[in-house]
């Protein structure tokens, strides 16, 4: 209060001198948590996430099968467990590269991108990600972002270092040279981004590794190589030996290609050599447009007349609806028709138009804008990333919420090495991007809890997710995924979405239940045989003592009978319970189910695995030093397993 007295009163002029435009970058520098940079651990994940999402999007648009390498190097170890260390993150892709003049815009400016202004299914939506990551690096370490990009295979790559002027939302190029030092990629083009930032590297549920693992599941067409800090310094020369089983393209045997951990890297192999279908961009559907947006569209449109406006700015508004809407919006003073000039529409009339439009009956938006992962691809992804014995997947037909088309997919992996006494692991995806945080706030998790898994022979505590050796995957594909916040961590709980999710889960659950029941039955039969066989030895010896019959002869006669009887029992079960037989045959033949037994697999997903087995590994390794070193036995070493077709 004392200060106030001594100072002259603020005037409009003096206040105006302090008022200035806040740049978006400045805003986000102060509010980094909105973008997922709340803490050093999350910052590292978000950085990698944004870069990988961009790389995948770019590759797919250029119709290139993505090869992505993520490398984390520890420059300074965290001085204490509570303080961050300094890390260098390098993400390399084999995408189309970026033309020189766009580099600053893409990496140095917030809210610059191709994705925000259109309704198209893609991983990123707002176009703030990668530049925000660069800015975070700059703010925490003072180091600029280093970009190598090679848009043309015949020309040298660009080496650009970018710092960002947060006050101006303008990039500042500190180094800009051409270089030959670009890693060889399968396409000859590509981009490599390196960011140095303060971060913390951890393993676990919300780690980089979990993110990449799940990304690999949802993107079986991508090959991702991950070099965590503890492997970054390892010698890669022996990788050729390690890869041997993968390249053994034996035509007769199909092999399960699984995530493999080597001494110097973790590799998430490509299991489907087929790009997701290219999606169409769509115009907004009127039901999904709010009044403010509608008014804005009226202002910015290039169209002169209402008919053209409705036709070209929206989807699913046929002339008949235009006629009906304009008629409703007309008043005694002013008659509005399709030919009315937009410039003559005032706000009141616009509002009337909007209301009429909302009341009109419109067809659902087109759904060719959606590219679901697909049943086959989900199965391949799950097979790669989850060690289980039963896999099933389901893709629902597209549906609509608030005028936005969306499509739900679910997959379930059961049994095998999965822990049986814990709650099922739910992995969530939106447009193929894994969602790692805020699980319980997410519509997908709620739908898991909502589904009654007891119907499918799983145990489920009241109001909880099921307990058992189960991994549940849910994917939502949409031109606009409704996230609960900007950091894109949880899907908002729309009734339409939850309903679709439940239906997809139920579809998977039914197959799972069938499988569990069948397996129980088979187990019982096996136990039956075991019991008989156990006692036959005793019985033959006793009978021998009592009657003098040859023990061995009797033993063999009884064993033969035991085998026959359990076989008969099998057959009887098949005949009596058509249920069992059908189920047996049906499950094995179905395309949306994979059953792995003792490393043997059922059905055609393996074709893709085989194709991939032939695909050549990246030649990068040859560039690196060639010191010999003993191969380390690694924790999760899982190469390929032999598989044979499960006969239906």
């Amino acid at each position: 209060m004392a200060k106030k007295k001594s100072k002259p009163r603020a005037t409009a002029e003096s206040m105006a001198s302090k008022q200035r435009e806040i740049s978006v970058s400045e805003f986000f520098a102060k509010n980094r948590h909105l973008l997922g940079f709340d803490n050093p651990r999350k910052a590292l994940l978000t950085t990698i996430k944004e870069a990988v999402d961009n790389a995948l999007d770019a590759c797919e648009e250029a119709e290139i099968l993505p090869d992505i390498e993520v490398k984390i190097e520890e420059l300074e170890a965290p001085p204490s467990p509570t303080k961050p260390g300094r890390y260098k993150v390098t993400i390399t892709d084999n995408g189309p590269g970026i033309v020189r003049r766009q580099v600053e815009n893409i990496f140095g400016k917030l809210l610059y991108g191709s994705k925000f202004h259109r309704l198209k299914m893609s991983r990123g939506q707002q176009g703030i990600g990668i530049s925000a990551a660069g800015m975070y690096g700059l703010m925490t370490t003072g180091k600029p972002m280093v970009i190598h990009t090679k848009p043309n295979k015949k020309k040298a790559a660009h080496h650009i270092e970018l710092a960002m002027d947060t006050s101006k939302n303008q990039p500042e190029v500190t180094i800009d040279v051409e270089t030959d030092d670009f890693p060889e990629t399968s396409t000859g083009t590509g981009t490599m981004v390196a960011i140095i930032l303060e971060a913390r590297f951890q393993r676990g549920k919300t780690s980089v590794e979990a993110y990449l693992e799940q990304t690999a599941i949802a993107n079986p067409h991508a090959k991702i190589t991950f070099i965590p800090p503890d492997k970054a310094s390892e010698d890669p020369t022996l990788e050729a030996d390690e890869q041997a089983p993968e390249s053994n393209g034996d035509e007769e045997s199909s092999e399960i290609v699984r995530t493999a951990e080597y001494a110097d890297r973790i590799e998430y192999p490509r299991t489907i050599a087929e790009l997701p279908t290219e999606t169409e961009e769509i115009k907004p559907h009127p039901y999904g447009v709010e009044l403010g947006n509608f008014l804005r569209l009226l202002k910015v449109t290039d169209e002169k007349q209402l008919a053209g406006f409705f036709k070209n700015e929206f989807c699913r508004v046929p002339p008949s609806v235009v006629k009906e809407v304009t008629k409703k919006a007309s008043s005694s003073k002013k008659t509005i028709t399709g030919q009315t000039y937009i410039s003559t529409i005032d706000n009141a009339a616009a509002e009337k138009l909007y209301k009429a439009l909302q009341d009109s009956k419109l067809r659902s938006p087109p759904t060719d804008c959606l590219a679901p992962i697909g049943v086959r691809q989900m199965l391949a992804g799950m097979l790669k990333g989850v060690q289980a014995e039963f896999y099933t997947a389901s893709t629902r037909n597209p549906a609509v919420y608030r005028g936005n088309p969306f499509q739900i997919e679910a997959a379930v992996a059961y049994g095998g090495d999965l822990p049986g006494d814990q709650q099922a692991r739910v992995i969530r995806f939106a447009n193929r991007v894994p969602l790692l945080y805020q699980q319980s706030a997410c519509c997908s998790f709620k739908s898991v809890v909502d589904t009654s898994w007891r119907n499918y022979n799983m145990s489920q505590p009241r109001g909880g997710s099921p307990v058992g050796p189960l991994v549940i995957m849910i994917h939502m594909a949409s031109v606009w995924v409704p996230f609960t916040s900007e950091s894109k961590e949880a899907i908002a709980d729309y009734d339409e979405i939850r309903k679709e999710m439940k239906l997809a889960l139920q579809d998977c659950g039914r197959k799972l239940g069938q499988y569990i029941r069948r397996r129980q039955k088979m187990k019982r039969e096996g136990e039956r045989r075991d019991v008989f066989e156990r006692y036959i030895g005793e019985i033959s010896r006793a009978c021998n003592a009592l009657t003098g019959t040859d023990t061995k002869e009797l033993y063999e006669a009884l064993m033969k009978q035991a085998k026959r009887r359990t076989e008969i029992a099998d057959a009887q079960l098949d005949e009596e319970g058509k249920f069992i037989k059908d189920e047996h045959g049906k499950l094995a033949k179905e395309e949306d189910v994979i059953i792995v037994q003792n490393g043997a697999v059922a059905n055609e997903v393996q074709d893709a695995a085989k194709q991939e087995a032939v695909a050549k590994p990246s030649k990068r390794s040859t560039k690196k030093s060639a010191k010999k070193k003993v191969v380390k036995k690694v924790r999760k070493k899982k190469t390929t397993e032999k598989a044979s077709l499960f006969e239906g």
Binding site: R528, F532, I536, I539, A542, A557
Partner: protein, 388 residues
């Protein structure tokens, strides 16, 4: 059990012993044959590819028939098939044969084993597994009973005996496995009634007693023995430590059948005492197949009677309240067909239920230490105040 020796031993009773020995041989041969037949059937079906199975008569209340004219319980004809290729029966099937083999061994070696001994003789771990052939003795005991009924041989004939229980003293001399035992000279401990009381093991000699007084338990028996009740009343005094084992019942049965001695029971006034009497008289459900050789339809129930609380002028202290279990059991007993048409028994049980308390034989001690031996029993015997 030196059976061979008995035949060699020179003795005045050579003839009876010889016939006893030969009858045993005959019986052993018969048992061995039945066992062989059991195994033979299994071998035959096994080799011809048919399902190996055996019939085991059902030992349950449902399969127990009340033979009113004979006054005994008998086993019905219901039998259960025991199959090897049946999850619930495979193990029992194996155990039955295992014991069959064990018994055939015993017969061959002319030895006997206790129930517990049989459990151990059949016990081993099944090859290639961690499973034992028998989990405990109960399992083994059940199998032996199954074997008894399925080959129609008695436990004695299987060379198996139970832990002995029950004592005897009185004006009688018996020969047990060749040893002469004068039951008048048994001191305070008495003669322990063996588990097997078949004629080839035990022969009676010099039966002077007029009747047998059977008491429920050892404590009461001690009282009578100390007061030399058997001497003053010329009788045999037995006790069965609660529910009498087969040996005691067989002994009573033989004394009754072979020497016409009335069997008079002094048991507690509670459902368990009543049921002990019922078992002695008609036989039990689980051993219904042996009733003909164990049941004594003429047995009498002397007391303690429900009326005795007033009749003997006992104090309130001796009352033990009937609990719910007692009441249920009492009603159950009253409804057994072999009790249902006995007016005396219906009255007895009803009186007890109306009283709402039970009484032990020892309650008479409150009157005087020897009241039971000097007053209670002699008076009742004289008045023939018993029910049956």
């Amino acid at each position: 059990m030196a059976k061979k020796k008995t035949t060699k031993k020179p003795s005045g009773k050579k003839r009876t012993k010889k016939s006893a020995a030969s009858s045993r041989k005959e019986r052993d041969a018969k048992t061995a044959k039945s066992l062989e037949g059991l195994a033979e059937g299994i071998v035959k079906s096994a080799l011809s590819g048919r399902e190996p199975k055996m019939d085991v008569p059902t030992r349950s209340a449902g399969n127990t028939k009340w033979n009113k004219s004979k006054g005994i319980l008998q086993m019905g004809s219901a039998a259960q098939e025991r199959q090897l290729f049946n999850m619930g029966q495979a193990r029992k099937f194996m155990q039955t044969l295992l014991h069959g083999q064990g018994i055939s061994n015993l017969i061959e070696q002319e030895k006997t084993l206790s129930l517990r001994g049989m459990y151990y003789s059949g016990l081993h771990t099944i090859q290639g597994t961690k499973e034992k052939t028998f989990n405990d003795q109960t399992e083994s005991d059940g199998i032996l009973e199954d074997l008894e009924v399925s080959i129609g041989a008695l436990r004695e004939e299987l060379h198996v005996f139970a832990k002995k229980r029950g004592t005897m003293v009185g004006n009688i001399t018996i020969i047990d496995s060749g040893d002469t035992i004068d039951c008048r000279r048994m001191g305070s401990g008495g003669y322990a009634i063996p588990s097997i009381c078949e004629p080839d093991v035990i022969q009676f000699e010099n039966v002077e007693a007029d009747f047998v007084l059977h008491v429920e338990k050892d404590t009461v028996w001690q009282r009578f023995n100390e007061d030399k009740f058997w001497k003053t009343h010329n009788c045999i005094l037995t006790e069965g430590s609660g529910q009498p084992p087969r040996g005691v019942r067989r002994m009573l049965h033989r004394l009754n059948k072979e020497h016409g001695l009335p069997i008079i029971c002094l048991l507690d006034c509670d459902p368990w005492g009543h049921y002990i009497y019922s078992v002695i008289k008609q036989g039990s459900i689980s051993l219904a197949f042996e009733s003909e050789r164990l049941a004594i339809p003429e047995a009498k129930f002397l007391g303690i009677r429900a009326k005795d609380y007033e009749a003997c002028g006992l104090s309130d202290d001796v009352k033990i309240d009937l609990n719910d279990r007692d009441k249920t059991r009492a009603k159950q007993i009253a409804e057994y067909p072999w009790f249902a048409d006995r007016k005396q028994w219906q009255k007895e049980i009803n009186t007890m239920l109306r009283n709402g308390f039970k009484m032990e034989v020892e309650s008479l001690i409150t009157k005087d230490i020897s009241y039971v031996t000097e007053t209670y029993v002699p008076e009742r015997l004289k008045a023939e105040d018993w029910i049956s």
